[in-house]
Every structure is written in structure tokens, then in C-alpha cells.
């Protein structure tokens, strides 16, 4: 090993200890029963258990809804922030990013408290609100970045060729900002699939998400089944990543 590459050694050790090893452990635990024998029954249990499957479906549904909501609110916000004429100060950008610096759990608790105080019924509506509130900055920032670094002459060229402002957006600005939207989706969709704290606090544990049942199983020392559920989620995340990559390569 030459001198340069030895600098990477600490990071290599870190990766092995805290990323690769835990992932292997998840796989090992998922494929074992309580007494350490190899089995597929944990995975089999998930795919045959109606409750688990419906929770899983609900989690995906909520994650998709939340992601769409974040795009719907976040894209216009990012667009306005990146427009030099509509937004002349860098402070507004910071204001949008600011909530990211506060612990998500704290914000969620405060939101739940506010809803209770206002007498709002805690349920799916409040859950989506909380998720969107938590994850919106992660959608806004990548889109803002993408729009901000986009060469303004593309929009000007489109206008020059006869595109109205609406057509400029549809045919040039939007397609060119898709990489930003995709990284926003990655940063919002994946964490929402595995979230459990927001569901717990903002629905009073009425709605259980996939993350919630993983947490419950682990808490109740059902490590093997919990690991199997985690494995399912990892596969979902891997599929999303691959899909996103393919899409990015196409454009």
C-alpha cells in the first residue's frame, strides 16, 4: 500500500465496522431462528402475515403521498428561491433550510402538542402534515441547488426561439431540474418509509408504519423477525436507487 492510500485506512475501517458489518448482521439475523439455525421462516412470516403486509402497504402509500406533497410544495418554493428577481436575498434560503438544524424529534413533539392544543384529531392528516413539515427542506434544497446552478441562457434561448414563459418552464427548466427532483425524492421517500417517531407522536400510535413494527419487534427482543423486516426495507431502498440511476442515465 503506498503512502497516499494509507490515508484512507481509517475510513475503510469505519466503513467496515459501522456499515458493512451491521448490514451483514442484519442478513445473518434475518436468516436465523431464535436458536441460531438457518431458516427462511422469518421472511416467510412477513409475506404470509396479513397485518405486516398491510402495514407495509400503508407505509409505502404514506411515503409516496408525502413525497408527492413535498414535490408539490417544494418545487415552487425552490423555484421562487432560485429566481433572482423574486428573491433578492440569501436570507430567505437560510430560513427555509433552518428547520433542518433543529432536531426532528423535537419539532415533531412540538407539532403534536400544537395539534392537541388546537383540538385537531390526530390521524393520517396530521401524520402527513408532520412528515411533510419534517422532510420539506430535503426536497427544496436539492431542487433549489439544481435550479440555481442552471445556466440562465437556456431559458433565454428558449424564449428567443419563441417559447412563452410557460413553455420555457415545461420544455426547458423542468426537464433540466429533474436531477434535483430525483435527489429530493431519494432524500424524502426513503427516510419516510422507515420513519416511526412521527407516526407514534402525530397519530398517538393509532397508525402503525413499517418502521414502527421493526422498532416494536426489536424492542421486544424479536431480533430475527425485526432483521427480516429491515432486510425487506433495504431491498426496497436498493430498488429505488437503481430505478433512479437508470432514469438519470437516460436524461
Amino acid at each position: 500500500m503506498n503512502k497516499r492510500s494509507s490515508w484512507a485506512l481509517p475510513y475503510f475501517i469505519f466503513l467496515v465496522l459501522f456499515v458493512v458489518l451491521p448490514l451483514l448482521l442484519i442478513i445473518v439475523y434475518a436468516l436465523q431462528d431464535g436458536s441460531g439455525r438457518f431458516t427462511l421462516s422469518n421472511l416467510g412470516k412477513f409475506f404470509t402475515d396479513r397485518d405486516s403486509l398491510s402495514t407495509f402497504a400503508l407505509s409505502l402509500e404514506v411515503a409516496i403521498e408525502n413525497t408527492l406533497l413535498c414535490i408539490l410544495i417544494g418545487y415552487p418554493a425552490a423555484y421562487i428561491l432560485a429566481d433572482k428577481q423574486l428573491n433578492r436575498s440569501a436570507v430567505t434560503v437560510v430560513l427555509f433550510i433552518l428547520p433542518m438544524w433543529i432536531n426532528a424529534l423535537m419539532r415533531t413533539l412540538a407539532t403534536a402538542e400544537l395539534f392537541t392544543m388546537a383540538g385537531v384529531h390526530l390521524g393520517k392528516g396530521t401524520l402527513l402534515f408532520g412528515m411533510c413539515y419534517d422532510y420539506l427542506p430535503f426536497m427544496i434544497y436539492p431542487i433549489y441547488n439544481q435550479l440555481n446552478k442552471m445556466d440562465k441562457s437556456y431559458a433565454e434561448a428558449a424564449q428567443d426561439l419563441g417559447a412563452t414563459p410557460g413553455e420555457v418552464f415545461r420544455k426547458v427548466t423542468l426537464p433540466l431540474s429533474m436531477p434535483g427532483v430525483w435527489s429530493g425524492v431519494m432524500m424524502v421517500f426513503m427516510p419516510t418509509v422507515s420513519t416511526f417517531a412521527i407516526a407514534e407522536f402525530l397519530t398517538n400510535n393509532k397508525i402503525k408504519l413499517f418502521g414502527t413494527i421493526i422498532q416494536e419487534n426489536i424492542n421486544n427482543s424479536m431480533w430475527n423477525y425485526g432483521a427480516a423486516l429491515s432486510l425487506v426495507m433495504l431491498v426496497i431502498i436498493a430498488i429505488t436507487t437503481v430505478l433512479q440511476k437508470e432514469d438519470a442515465d437516460e436524461s
Binding site: 437556456y154 428567443d160 426561439l161 417559447a163
Partner: protein, 464 residues
């Protein structure tokens, strides 16, 4: 002159950003089918003018007429003009075909018609087999061609080109120049072309508009601009030249480099200070003492490909540049003459610095937003006066301490035995300086003026 064949007419156009004025009262007309070049150094306002015509900017003052119709309020997407952008601005998410077809698709032209026209225009720019190529995989020159095709397919009344060749290497640039010129001839579309490259402007244009600091300096054919520059800026910017202080004795008789010459200029008056321009290829060597007007010693001689470039010291102490097909050995004494036709005499823009000023106290006067010490005998406090300072009496320092003002050198003119500098003052305004010291464009300078060098006179005396 401004008859039916005028396609674009610009009247009293001014443009400001905040309190910074970038275009001053631009008046210009462009004839149908003409190749007009806006030429000037960076920051002269040429690109701003082009963007105003394209519609990306709204003029602060004045108007732009297209075929007699005011287009000032019309957005760029409804102007029948198309632009070739400096960095091409090809859409990276579309291939060559879709880039070129972009304008026609917006107009909902039928698909088979689009295909026909894209094929035709790609053929015009010699890019026929590239339809399916990703624009990012093209070379600079190819991207340039696609950008031109994309702009031409809409059949614009006027094609605007913003330094389209600036990003290409020299060889490619020369080839593209020829192709552009041919395309212009073939299509008959009016071209408005922006460049800072004077050679490009001379090669391509029917008409050149020379600009500096937001003001049109001269409008004319390449030959006019080259042979008869109206001021020292144009003479210096276009081609190589010897620019010298001179004195017009009377019509057709001028003195410079401490020699007298016959010339062809008239109407300047008698004993008037002027600027004289002599192109380096217009100073001739002779062996005939009868023809010799002055002698000089060859100081350096450099081969430039087609000609030799020589610097000579005249018998009267001036340095001149001469271009000739034959070299003369360094150190040799030569006899020289200039034809009367080749001496271009220009009115001096100014003979000294002159500012509106106010006496603010005993021995104090205010101009250029700065208070200077000077002799104020004969004036009262509060008097509006003119303060004149000779070019050579302005001291330039390379530091701020002890300076009355600071500024940056924005323009340097070599006058054979000294430099004439234009210094832009930090707080606004200019001061002109004659010096023997060597400064570079952009240099930060401190400016000092001694009290005895500021000459006050009654205001309202008019200029000069």
C-alpha cells in the same frame, strides 16, 4: 438614408443599472440584409445593446423600431429575431434534431414539414449526419453550427450573434468566419454581430459600429473605420497605428514628430492642436534624399509572417512602428517619408483636463467630489469656476498615501515619446495623464495634483 430598406432603427437608447449608465444615447439604423458588427472592448456596452434588441432587457430610455414598429414592449418570444448565444446554450436534454426543431415544434408546424426544414438547415451548416447526436458529444465548432441552425430555422428577420466565435480556436475561427460570411450572402438575412475582435469585424462586416464606454465612437465601413478613424480610441483599437500629437498649421499642412508634412485634411483652422494617425504600413523607406522627410535609426526588427515589424527612433526623438516587406538591420540609419494621403488628422477630444469646480475656502477648490489645495486669488468662496489641469502635470503614484484621488488606468495610448493614459476615478469621472512611466491597463493608481498646477478660470467661459 433611412428609407424603406431600414429594418432596425434605434433612437436615443440609454440603459442604466442603478446609477451606473452602460449605454448613452445610442442612435443607429440597420439596413435590410446588412452585416453590422458592434465592436468594442469588454464592458463597452455592445452585448447590452444586443440584449436590448433581442428583448431580454428593457431600455431605460429611447426606443427600438423593427420595420418601423416600436418593439420596446414586446417580449423576446414574440420578436421575429433569433440569437446565437456566446456559449451556444444548446439544450443539454435534447439531441441535435430536437434542439434545431425546438422553435418549429413550438409553432406547431406539422412533423413532416419540421423534418424537411431541419434537414435543410442542418445541411446548410454542414451538420447533416448529426441529427441523433447528443449535443454534449459535439466539438465546439459543431455546437456552434447547431446553434446557428437552431436560430436560422425560424427564418428570423434579423439574426443576432453574440461573440459566436469567441470560444473557438484560431484556425476554426477563421474557417467559421468565411462560412458565416457565405451564409449571410446566401440567405440575405440581416446579421447583427457582436465581437471584441477587430480583425473579425473588418473581415465580416458591411458596417462596423465601434463602441467604448457605452458610447458609439464611429459608424462606417471597415475601410472607412480603418483609414479614417475619428478619434484616437478608434485608431488604436482598429489595427496597429502610430498615434501622435500634432499641430495643424493651416489647411493641408501639419506638424508632428517635430517635422512638417503635407496632408490632405482641411477645415481644422490654423495652429490647432490635433491627433495624427499614421498606419505602420504607410511609412516608407527610401534611398532618395530628395524624397526623404526625416531620418531614423532602426531599433528592433521582428518577422511577423507576411511582413517585418520595425521600431525606429526618429532624429527628433520619437519612436515609430513601421511594417515593411523588407527588413532593415537593427542600428542602421534609414530615410523615411509619408504620403500626404496616409496622414489621418483627427480633432483632439481635449487638450487638457477641465472640470466644473467650486471654490470652497481660502486656497481650496472642490471638483471630482474632492477638495484640492490651489491658488484662489481673485475668486470668492462659493464661486463656480473651471479648473484646468495640463495632462503632464498630473502625478501618478503606485500607492494611496499622499494621493488626492485614486483610480484605475482604463486606456493607454503610446504617443511616440510618452504615454497618454485615461484614468477612471474611483468616485466617478475620468482624468487624462501624460507620463513617461510605464503603466498597465487596470493598474490601481494614486493621483496627486500640486496646487500651482490647477488653473482656475471663470465658469461659463465655454469649453476650451
Amino acid at each position: 438614408m433611412r428609407g424603406k430598406d431600414t429594418i432596425i432603427n434605434i433612437e436615443g437608447l440609454s440603459q442604466s443599472y442603478g446609477d451606473k449608465q452602460v449605454l448613452h444615447d445610442i442612435n443607429l439604423y440597420v439596413r435590410r440584409g446588412e452585416f453590422v458588427t458592434l465592436l468594442g472592448p469588454s464592458g463597452c456596452g455592445k452585448t447590452t445593446l444586443l440584449r436590448l434588441i433581442a428583448g431580454f432587457l428593457q431600455p431605460t430610455e429611447g426606443r427600438i423600431l423593427l420595420e418601423g414598429r416600436d418593439i420596446s414592449g414586446i417580449p423576446p418570444y414574440r420578436r421575429p429575431l433569433n440569437t446565437v448565444f456566446q456559449r451556444y446554450a444548446l439544450f443539454p436534454h435534447l439531441d441535435v434534431y430536437d434542439n434545431v426543431a425546438f422553435g418549429l415544434k413550438l409553432q406547431k408546424v406539422p412533423e413532416d414539414e419540421i423534418e424537411k426544414r431541419v434537414k435543410r438547415v442542418l445541411k446548410l451548416v454542414s451538420m447533416s449526419d448529426y441529427e441523433d447526436r447528443d449535443v454534449n458529444s459535439l466539438s465546439g465548432g459543431q455546437q456552434q453550427r447547431v446553434a446557428i441552425a437552431r436560430a436560422l430555422i425560424n427564418q428570423p428577420r434579423v439574426l443576432l450573434l453574440d461573440e459566436p466565435l469567441a470560444a473557438l480556436d484560431l484556425k476554426m475561427r477563421k474557417d467559421m468566419q468565411i462560412e458565416l460570411k457565405e451564409m449571410h450572402k446566401k440567405l440575405g438575412i440581416t446579421f447583427i454581430y457582436v465581437t471584441h475582435d477587430q480583425e473579425e469585424a473588418l473581415t465580416l462586416s458591411d458596417t462596423i459600429v465601434v463602441m467604448n464606454e457605452g458610447i458609439i465612437q464611429q459608424i462606417g465601413t471597415p475601410i472607412d473605420i480603418y483609414n479614417e478613424p475619428v478619434n484616437a480610441f478608434v485608431a488604436d483599437f482598429i489595427g496597429d497605428s502610430n498615434i501622435l500629437n500634432g499641430k495643424m498649421f493651416r489647411d493641408r499642412r501639419v506638424a508632428f514628430i517635430k517635422h512638417e508634412f503635407d496632408c490632405v485634411d482641411e477645415g481644422f483652422g490654423e495652429n490647432v492642436s490635433v491627433d495624427v494617425v499614421v498606419r505602420p504600413e504607410d511609412i516608407y523607406f527610401t534611398t532618395d534624399p530628395a524624397k526623404c522627410q526625416f531620418t531614423a535609426k532602426v531599433n528592433s526588427c521582428t518577422f511577423k509572417g507576411v511582413h517585418y515589424e520595425m521600431w525606429v527612433d526618429t532624429d527628433t526623438g520619437y519612436e515609430l512602428m513601421i511594417q515593411d516587406y523588407d527588413p532593415y538591420p537593427v542600428g542602421s540609419e534609414v530615410m523615411l517619408y509619408i504620403d500626404p494621403d496616409d496622414i489621418q488628422v483627427m480633432k483632439k477630444e481635449r487638450r487638457f483636463n477641465s472640470y466644473d469646480a467650486r471654490v470652497t475656502g481660502e486656497g481650496k477648490v472642490m471638483f471630482l467630489d474632492t477638495e484640492f489645495a490651489c491658488h484662489t486669488e481673485g475668486f470668492n468662496i462659493g464661486d463656480q469656476v473651471r479648473a484646468d489641469i495640463r495632462f503632464e502635470r498630473v502625478d501618478l503614484l503606485d500607492h494611496e498615501e499622499g494621493a488626492d484621488l485614486t483610480g484605475n488606468v482604463v486606456f493607454i495610448l503610446y504617443k511616440g515619446d510618452h504615454y497618454h493614459l485615461t484614468v477612471k476615478i474611483a468616485g466617478g469621472g475620468h482624468i487624462w495623464v501624460d507620463t513617461h512611466d510605464i503603466w498597465d491597463k487596470g493598474d490601481f493608481v494614486g493621483i496627486r495634483i500640486l496646487p500651482e498646477d490647477i488653473k482656475l478660470s471663470k465658469a461659463l467661459s465655454g469649453d476650451e
